[in-house]
């Protein structure tokens, strides 16, 4: 049932050219070089240390590995992390 619903949403957004992150309620991840990452529409932090940042989202856990990771901002919608980013994994 869920899969069907998702497909309909996907088709609508394709047809109307609507942004998929809003229609499908997906996270939007923006990275600037390897120094900053913005995650919009997250579902909370699971783990945070200077080396690893794990953020929950609709598509699974986003795992960011790096050095000197700092959380610049935490809002209910958005996380901005600074530092040297080595790796971004999506674990679903």
């Amino acid at each position: 049932m869920d899969k069907k619903m998702e497909n309909i949403k996907y088709n609508i957004s394709e047809a109307l050219e609507l942004p998929k992150d809003i229609v499908l309620d997906l996270p939007k991840i923006t990275i600037i070089g390897n120094i900053q990452i913005n995650i919009l529409n997250h579902k909370g932090i699971i783990e945070y240390s200077q080396e690893v940042l794990r953020v929950n989202s609709n598509i699974g856990v986003i795992k960011i590995t790096g050095n000197d990771l700092k959380l610049k901002t935490i809002l209910s919608e958005e996380i901005i992390a600074n530092g040297i980013i080595d790796k971004i994994e999506i674990i679903s």
Binding site: E47, Q50, K70, K72, T73, I74
Partner: protein, 384 residues
């Protein structure tokens, strides 16, 4: 501006703390993991208060590391009254000093002296030291235009702490009398008439006549041939006359000169407004001295501050008697007299002769220089 705190949060489930803060709309930023059980972050003052609830829920400890921003600064200042007072005083002084006129500058005046204008304004209450918001520019404008008739335009401008008065003067062409108004030509000075050229009107003097000042030379009053009455005309013409200019110089042969010996004694004085404090270090060690006061410009500014440092310099002098050579005095006197006379002579004058006379008394050489010149002494004057 709003102020924030840097806090340390200690505990085990710190991620949960962050998530709760985010969902409760508590703004946290610059979060850094210091340790496995420790986070460092920044929070607003309101955010910090709201955090207490979450802290109780999660079960961790919060510690304030540093307070930053204006509200904390104000709180600190409350306990340091002198600092606060100084701060306010600083602004008050800056504002008051910058709202006072320190300097009045007069631009564009040629015939009327700057000092006269400033003196006149001072009598009217406009001088350096008054508050600039009190100045009524239009009032000053009318005041100056009414007082000095030669001003055709006055603009008053305040630039910072300087009052600039820009003046345009009327070009006065020496009482040019209209061609149609009846007038005489009168003598502007004493002289012996040499030549009369009457272009209009009737010449009443002839060559060789001696005229005094204000005597009529060419009359604008002509008897009418048809009737017995008179016609008034605008007299015109040139009247050349010989006039004398003399100058006398007296110079003593034996002269006492006060010569500086080069030794100087200084005293400093601090002047605040009208009151002065002199720093005295001993008496003046000279019998005969010349005092000169010099003002030290404190800030290298061209403004009249009420605070002044004056340096009194006492220069020792020695009286000496010098006997001068008589021939040298004569020559010097002659040159000086001619120079002085040259300043008096009108531009359109021909020098006919020069007479130099030296009289040597017991201690003085008196020199008379008389110059005879030929010049136009006619001056137009309307008939009343």
């Amino acid at each position: 501006m709003k102020g924030y705190v840097i806090i340390k949060v200690k505990g085990l489930t710190l991620e949960r703390f962050l998530n709760l803060a985010a969902t409760n709309d508590i703004y946290l930023w610059d979060i850094k993991r210091v340790d496995y059980t420790e986070l460092e972050m920044k929070a607003t003052i309101e955010g910090f208060r709201a955090l207490k609830e979450i802290v109780n829920k999660v079960g961790c400890r919060v510690e304030v590391v540093e307070k930053r921003g204006l509200p904390f600064l104000l709180y600190k200042i409350k306990h340091r009254k002198a600092l606060g007072v100084g701060f306010i005083l600083f602004f008050v002084i800056i504002i008051t000093l910058s709202s006072i006129i320190w300097d009045i500058k007069v631009v564009g005046n040629e015939k009327v002296k700057t000092e006269d204008i400033i003196k006149f304004l001072e009598i009217e209450g406009i001088k350096s030291g008054i508050i600039k918001y009190k100045i009524d520019k239009d009032y000053i404008k009318h005041l100056l235009l009414n007082k000095f008739e030669t001003f055709s335009f006055v603009s008053v401008e305040i630039k910072g702490t300087r009052l600039i008065i820009d003046i345009k003067e009327i070009e006065l062409i020496n009482e040019e009398i209209d061609e149609n108004t009846p007038s005489h030509i009168v003598a502007s000075k004493k002289g012996v008439i040499e030549k009369v050229i009457a272009r209009n009107g009737k010449a009443v003097v002839r060559k060789g006549d001696i005229v005094e000042k204000n005597d009529i030379l060419i009359s604008g009053l002509i008897s009418d041939e048809d009737s017995d009455g008179f016609i008034l005309v605008h007299a015109d013409g040139e009247v050349w006359a010989k006039t004398l200019y003399s100058y006398k110089i007296e110079e003593p042969i034996v002269k006492t000169i006060r010569e500086e010996t080069g030794r100087v004694f200084e005293r400093k004085e601090l002047k605040i407004g009208e009151r002065g404090i002199q720093f005295i270090k001993g008496d003046i060690p000279f019998n005969d001295y010349v005092e000169s006061i010099e003002e030290v410009n404190i800030f290298n500014l061209n403004i009249d501050l009420p605070l002044k440092i004056l340096v009194h310099q006492y220069k020792e002098v020695e009286s000496k008697e010098i006997t001068q050579d008589i021939d040298l005095i004569k020559e010097k006197n002659h040159i000086r007299a001619v120079e002085e006379l040259n300043k008096q002579l009108p531009p359109k004058a021909d020098i006919i002769s020069k007479d130099v006379k030296h009289i040597v008394n017991d201690n003085f050489v008196t020199t008379y220089v008389v110059i005879e010149v030929l010049e136009d002494i006619g001056e137009k004057r309307p008939i009343n």
